[in-house]
Symmetry: C2
Subunit: 208 residues, 2 copies
């Protein structure tokens, strides 16, 4: 989604629905977070990664570099790398991607990688094996403490969000994640978005 459109939606939400439960939605495409060691292995010890653009969540950004994911049944090329580097490499894909690759990752919150799937990650330089790295991201809402207070929810609470579209759905078990560095936004993947008729600007309504 474009930055201008995100700002417009956030403004609309804040201006016209203050006190309401309207939630802006963003769709996460497949991406990887790499550890410092894996960056060195994949791109070279002295290679300097370059930033492409900032993402909507403050401090998060995308690199210009991309990688290839290799599974037993398929390959996904041109997969985005998000920064900054993490302690452990984490690969976030949709179920559709998982079927194409031939793997079966669990639905998990970011950072919860114990027992998750393995995948091979490749650049033109080399291929590495990333054990316990692949998850399907559990749907979640980023928000600040102020948002949480206004919406009447707490960190880690599970809520429901109705998607208003020509294929309306209520997404259940949506995890609330509260942090002062966050910006109010619900993150879903392309399967959830396409199955719910999401288009740029589609809004969600939180149901507690």
């Amino acid at each position: 989604m474009q930055e201008a459109l995100i700002k417009e939606i956030v403004k609309k939400v804040v201006d016209t629905l203050e006190g309401g439960k309207t939630i802006p939605i963003e769709v996460s495409a497949r991406h990887v977070h790499l550890s410092e060691n894996h960056i060195k292995e994949l791109f070279g010890k002295d290679y300097k990664m370059s930033k492409k653009k900032d993402l909507s969540q403050p401090g998060q950004f995308q690199y210009n570099e991309r990688v290839t994911l290799i599974g037993p049944k398929g390959v996904l090329k041109g997969v985005a790398i998000l920064g900054p580097a993490r302690d452990k490499t984490q690969v976030e894909i949709s179920k559709t991607d998982a079927i194409a690759l031939g793997i079966n990752p669990p639905v998990r919150e970011s950072g919860d990688l114990d027992g998750s799937e393995k995948i091979y990650i490749a650049t033109e330089k080399t291929v590495i094996e990333a054990n316990e790295s692949v998850i399907i991201a559990k749907r979640h809402i980023h928000m600040t403490q102020e948002d949480a207070k206004r919406l009447g929810v707490k960190d880690k609470q599970l809520v429901r969000v109705r998607i208003n579209s020509d294929r309306p759905v209520v997404l259940e078990d949506v995890v609330v994640r509260v942090n002062s560095r966050y910006r109010l936004s619900m993150h879903i993947d392309f399967d959830e978005a396409n199955g719910a008729g999401y288009e740029d600007g589609t809004l969600g309504e939180m149901i507690i």
Copy 2:
């Protein structure tokens, strides 16, 4: 889904939950229904199509033959052809497929093709243009008059169905379709299935 598994689920539903609102679910992969004229154009005037297998809805079957869908941005090979032939060619794909092909079909009920998308359909023999043929199937439940009576719903009624999974959702605007030739089953596409954590045997619960 395998025939044995479908039967097991239907039996379970009928035996142990009689009077309940449990609905078996099947996932529809991309497919085409061809008109007699298009079959002749694509395979030859005197070509005899051959049946591969019967489908869960009585009288519906899949042919051994397959076609290729060609859009402005992509190509999908090996797409299933379902029979019997229809008056008008109808192509049913997911939003994910539509994005890959570069087209924007509406979400519609089967047979409602006015103003729908166009696509090129190819075999090794030729390519045809199929105008007003492509839709994203609106989620629906096939059932008999007896099912409808037991479940307390009517033909064309919109209901909600909760999918019990590790990514639970409530699908809204699910169309009830009643016909004595039908067998109780909810049909969703792979976007809806993957976004809802569907696996073989996952059941739905109708909420009126």
